[in-house]
């Protein structure tokens, strides 16, 4: 079949099952937009290219597939970079297509030319500059394969404007053959046997899960394994929705902003089974590696993660689902009820105490607010959070499970992620899932132009901003690093009238001034299937952690 390259690009996307592309047009992608116009793929016009990558990110995560974003050359592509880096750090599959200037003029600093291949090298899993028109089908087939297998991640394809108009014989390859890319899937049997032995010997074991459970799509396999062994589960920011948060075996978030009792348990544990987590500085701030009594089993698809941040005694490289299935096939005879009960009790007490604690501060209690959001968004639900205090509040008090997903960026953690990620997720979930986007008023204003899409497509998203007229977490960092006279650059001296802003966008606005308003507003908001905008007033002195400190 003879096709223009631009038509071939769209054909590749259709063959990969893509139904939505988040993008922004420009001179260098005109032919692709012309081909897109006559296709069945929905194009969502974003206000800033960065959002298109976050939307594709949210879309892919909500649908367990690959999101696609599209931008023009130069500034379009450089705006994408933050979004691409976000997907890379969080191992989220993503295809970014960028236009490039005329292939014969590359390197001559044309209008809207940027070295996108060079600048995205550090945070794409792979990237391609198309020089030969006939490479298109192979490159797209490879790109989708690379993005969505092994340790998942973003792949960028840069296509010069002149090549988009050329004609090729289009045939989409059925298989992929890349000599240097063959991820290890099944775990080493001897290492698995060693892990089983260590599990049976353990007296205070703990399972630590990260985003890898979601990317390997093995929440059920994890659940089965935990039910068989009864080992408590702690999680990283990326792993919050890996395991039912209301299960008695769920302990919660670890790390610098984790629950104190979780960090305590991590320190006391004699066996830590890490699954699909990078074990980065934020998570290990509390475990110094000085605990020589600890045995660490690390399961990850990426061999480079094992032993990188923490010494591992039993490394198992492979797909978490296959390895968990194998682990579950063994018999376990653990005697850990006391250990498990203790953690269960700690969580229960902690949650009760922190939620009932009375604060001498005006405004809404953000802990209770998130808990209420969790309670009112019954059934299937998806919540996105940004970075900052809102992220920690959300990951502590939103009750996630298999049907209640929690999307945040734990790695790059850019401000502004929450709203576009929720929009992307809403496009992916065209069912009765309740989608909520939580963020601070600072993060919201980074990419708030996207609020227009919520109205344009009448997307049922409950947009919740926690407004303390401050960049709350940085302010708190300043407080702890220096003192209360050292706040600088963290006061948001002017904020718009958010209720009028919501009105200007044609979206129903609500204000929660204090805890008394919570149930009224949330019950109305979640009863409706219309989008709404909720501003919660939070006192600037409200700390991130209920104890006002972190580890």
């Amino acid at each position: 079949m003879k096709l223009k390259v631009s038509e071939a690009v769209i054909a590749c996307l259709e063959l990969e099952g893509v139904d939505t592309v988040f993008g922004h047009p420009g001179g260098a992608v005109l032919p692709i937009y012309e081909a897109l116009r006559t296709s069945n793929i929905q194009h969502v016009l974003v206000k800033n290219e960065q959002s298109s990558a976050h939307m594709a990110n949210g879309y892919g995560r909500a649908k367990d597939s690959v999101g696609v974003c599209l931008a023009t050359s130069g500034p379009g592509a450089t705006n994408l970079i933050t979004g691409i880096a976000t997907a890379y750090m969080d191992s989220i599959p993503l295809i970014a297509i960028t236009g490039q200037v005329n292939s014969k003029k590359i390197g001559t600093d044309l209008f809207q030319e940027a070295d996108v291949i060079g600048s995205t090298e550090p945070f794409t899993k792979n990237n391609y500059l198309i020089k030969n028109k006939n490479d298109i089908p192979r490159v797209f087939k490879e790109a989708f394969h690379i993005a969505n297998t092994g340790r998942k991640g973003p792949v960028l394809i840069d296509i010069p404007r002149d090549i988009q108009d050329e004609i090729i014989d289009f045939e989409y390859p059925e298989t992929v053959e890349i000599r240097g890319y063959k991820p290890t899937l099944s775990g080493h049997s001897r290492q698995i046997a060693k892990a089983v032995k260590k599990i049976n010997e353990a007296t205070q074991p703990i399972i630590c899960v990260g985003g890898g459970i979601g990317s390997a799509n093995c929440r059920e396999e994890l659940y089965d394994f935990v039910m068989k062994t009864k080992i408590p589960v702690v999680c990283t920011l990326m792993g919050v929705d890996s395991f039912p948060n209301d299960s008695e075996y769920f302990a919660g978030l670890l790390g610098s902003h984790g629950y104190p009792f979780v960090n305590d348990a991590m320190n006391k544990a004699d066996l830590i089974i890490v699954i699909g987590a990078r074990f980065t500085d934020r998570s290990t701030a509390v475990i110094s590696g000085k605990n020589t009594h600890q045995h660490i089993v690390h399961i990850d698809i990426d061999p480079a993660e094992i032993g990188k941040n923490i010494k591992t005694q039993t490394p198992i490289v492979g797909d978490a689902r296959l390895i968990l299935e194998e682990l579950s096939q063994n018999d376990y005879s653990l005697d850990i009820k006391k250990w498990t009960d203790n953690i269960k009790y700690s969580r229960k007490t902690y949650m009760e105490e922190t939620l009932s604690k009375v604060w001498p501060l005006e405004g809404t209690n953000p802990f209770r607010l998130i808990k209420a959001v969790s309670d009112y968004s019954t059934g299937k639900s998806l919540l996105t959070s940004d970075v900052g205090q809102n992220q920690i509040w959300a990951s502590h008090y939103y009750i996630a499970n298999q049907e209640r997903r929690y999307l945040t960026s734990g790695g790059l953690a850019p401000m502004g992620y929450s709203l576009p990620a929720a929009i992307g997720a809403r496009f992916a979930l065209r069912d009765d899932t309740k989608v909520t986007s939580v963020m601070g008023e600072g993060g919201f204003q980074m990419l708030m132009g996207e609020l227009a899409l919520v109205k344009e497509y009448n997307l049922d998203i409950k947009v919740i901003i926690l407004n303390n007229n401050r960049l709350g977490m940085v302010r708190e960092l300043q407080l702890h690093a220096y003192n209360k006279n050292s706040f600088h650059g963290v006061d948001i001296a002017f904020n718009p009238d958010f209720m009028k802003l919501a009105e200007a966008y044609g979206i129903k606005g609500y204000q929660i001034r204090n805890d008394d308003d919570i149930s009224d507003v949330l019950s109305q908001a979640y009863a409706s299937d219309e989008p709404c905008f909720i501003e919660c007033i939070v006192h600037p002195d409200f700390p991130t952690m209920p104890n006002g400190r972190w580890e």
């Binding site: 291949i117 060079g118 090298e121 792979n126 890349i178 240097g180 061999p303 990188k308």
Partner: protein, 161 residues
């Protein structure tokens, strides 16, 4: 403290544009210095070999090797530091000389199996192939005459047997 050692990595890669930049960039970005680097096609024109020498401790080297392996176009990495490999480097040396000491220099070069490739009124150019130690020794030997320029390829290596 881990011991810092010299390693020779022989990296086979798929011969796509940008691959060298991805490999070299990875070293820079992870704070690792490349001592020498050379690249050429293998017997399969679709595959190139990059030979890199680096100095560092085992732990960092392991991380670098793992990260390199993650690059899609990298096929295989062999650490050739072991004794079971042959290491060679090619170099040109341009040395000050005059009528009086020219034959002396040529004689010394012969001991190092060096070849005179160019002679001018005030200089002589010699090519030498050898491992780094031998090449360094020859450089030291020539230093008193006044070295005008040194051009070295950096090590390349092959496994024995």
């Amino acid at each position: 403290m881990m011991k810092k050692e010299r390693h020779v990595l022989s990296i086979t890669v798929e011969n796509y544009s940008g691959t060298l930049s991805k490999v070299a960039g990875l070293f820079t970005r992870r704070g690792y210095n490349i001592d020498t680097l050379n690249v050429a096609e293998t017997m399969d024109p679709g595959i190139s070999r990059i030979t890199v020498t680096v100095t560092g401790d085992e732990e960092v080297l392991e991380q670098i090797t793992k990260q390199l392996n993650k690059l899609i176009n990298v096929i295989k990495i062999i650490d050739l530091t072991a004794k079971q490999s042959i290491l060679r480097e090619f170099m040109f040396l341009k040395i000050n000389c005059n009528k009086e000491n020219r034959s002396e220099i040529i004689q010394l070069a012969t001991v190092f199996k060096g070849k005179t490739v160019d002679v001018a009124a005030k200089s002589i150019t010699i090519e030498v192939t050898g491992d780094e130690e031998k090449n360094n020794a020859f450089i030291e030997l020539m230093r008193p005459y006044g070295i005008i320029e040194i051009v070295r390829t950096g090590l390349t290596a092959i496994e024995r047997g």
